[in-house]
């Protein structure tokens, strides 16, 4: 005898496991008083140069550290280590994005207390990282002037999942006839109200303003943590 199938209600998030780990990481960051920031962008948008510059500038006054995700090689960790900040490479193998478990494993032996900023550089990819919460306080999406002003319209999901947009390689803007207004309009269309910075890791343009923002964010998160 074949019986009727039985319908059961489930209502469970598919990424529940990732979300639980991400929540635990967020709590760990909050307790340690560290501001965790992740960076997402397409490959070649200047994430590593931007991060190296940021780490170097912050290192003078703050305790900073970084995790950097790539499919292969430790090249980026070696580049970032020039900033003198502790850096750890996460090699994902064939995986096209970071997951909360990878961040947790990478931080396993780290004492986060005493750290002020932790940066998590995701794998260069504008699609897959958007679905995975890493426990970060803020997610930055980078867009270089050489990529085309319509990138946000082509990849709306990841731009929408981010908190702050950073336009990079501003020193090349004139050479590539970058239309800054159009780029900003497109960012606002997919993520209304998003804060936008324009920087050049090469000339340092825009970096002081960006660092002020980071410092303010840290103070803000510390004051909420203290409550």
């Amino acid at each position: 005898m074949i019986s009727e199938p039985r319908l059961v209600l489930v209502r469970k998030n598919v990424l529940k496991q990732n979300d639980v780990l991400a929540r635990a990481l967020r709590e760990r960051f909050r307790e340690a008083g560290v501001l965790a920031i992740s960076l997402v962008s397409s490959p070649g948008s200047g994430k590593t140069a931007f991060l190296e510059n940021t780490l170097t500038l912050l290192h003078a006054r703050y305790k900073v550290a970084a995790l950097v995700g790539d499919l292969a090689t430790e090249n980026d960790a070696a580049r970032l280590a020039r900033s003198q900040a502790p850096v750890k490479q996460i090699i994902t193998g064939t995986v096209c994005h970071l997951e909360a478990a990878m961040v947790q494993n990478a931080l396993d032996s780290w004492d986060l207390r005493g750290l002020d900023f932790l940066f998590i550089e995701n794998v260069g990819n504008l699609v897959c990282p958007s679905s995975y919460d890493l426990g970060e306080d803020l997610r930055f999406v980078l867009l270089s002037v050489t990529e085309g002003e319509d990138k946000p319209l082509k990849y709306p999901t990841i731009f929408n999942s981010a908190d702050v947009a950073v336009i990079t390689k501003s020193d090349l803007a004139t050479a590539v006839e970058f239309d800054e207004d159009a780029a900003k309009r497109n960012i606002q269309a997919v993520r209304p109200g998003m804060r936008i910075f324009k920087v050049s890791a090469k000339t340092g343009e825009g970096m002081p303003k960006f660092l002020d923002f980071l410092e303010n964010q840290r103070l803000r998160s510390r004051s909420t943590a203290a409550v």
């Binding site: 059961v8 489930v10 598919v14 929408n160 269309a189």
Partner: protein, 115 residues
């Protein structure tokens, strides 16, 4: 292409659920998929079949309900849909709508279990 790893998470979740109900297999998995979830429906369906192989879900169907984006419009002061994924503005009054109420779902809502 992260849909394969998403599909494997669905299969893991569904296997656990079937086991907890003492069911030998699964016929259908119902999934809510938000337009802002970052997961592509076609790629997910393709990956699902592969992820089901040699599991109690082999031969099961994944039924996807796509969930549209709903926002809280600050001008209309009401729940509204948006113009498009490329223009997160109230479909009625055109105001920018940063507050998203619905559209990020990636959730198994129900399953049909074999008895």
């Amino acid at each position: 292409m992260h849909e394969l790893s998403i599909a494997m998470s669905i299969v893991d979740l569904a296997c656990e659920e079937a086991e907890s109900h003492g069911a030998p297999g699964v016929d259908v998995v119902y999934l809510k998929l938000g337009l802002l979830s970052g997961v592509a429906k076609e790629a997910l369906l393709f990956s699902y079949e592969i992820a089901c192989q040699q599991t109690p879900l082999e031969g099961s169907k994944l039924l996807i309900e796509e969930v549209p984006i709903l926002v809280d419009c600050p001008v209309c002061m009401d729940r509204r849909s948006v113009q498009s994924l490329q223009s997160l503005c109230c479909v009625q009054c055109g105001s920018p709508t940063p507050e998203i109420l619905q559209g990020r779902e990636l959730m198994v809502t129900a399953m049909e279990l074999r008895q």
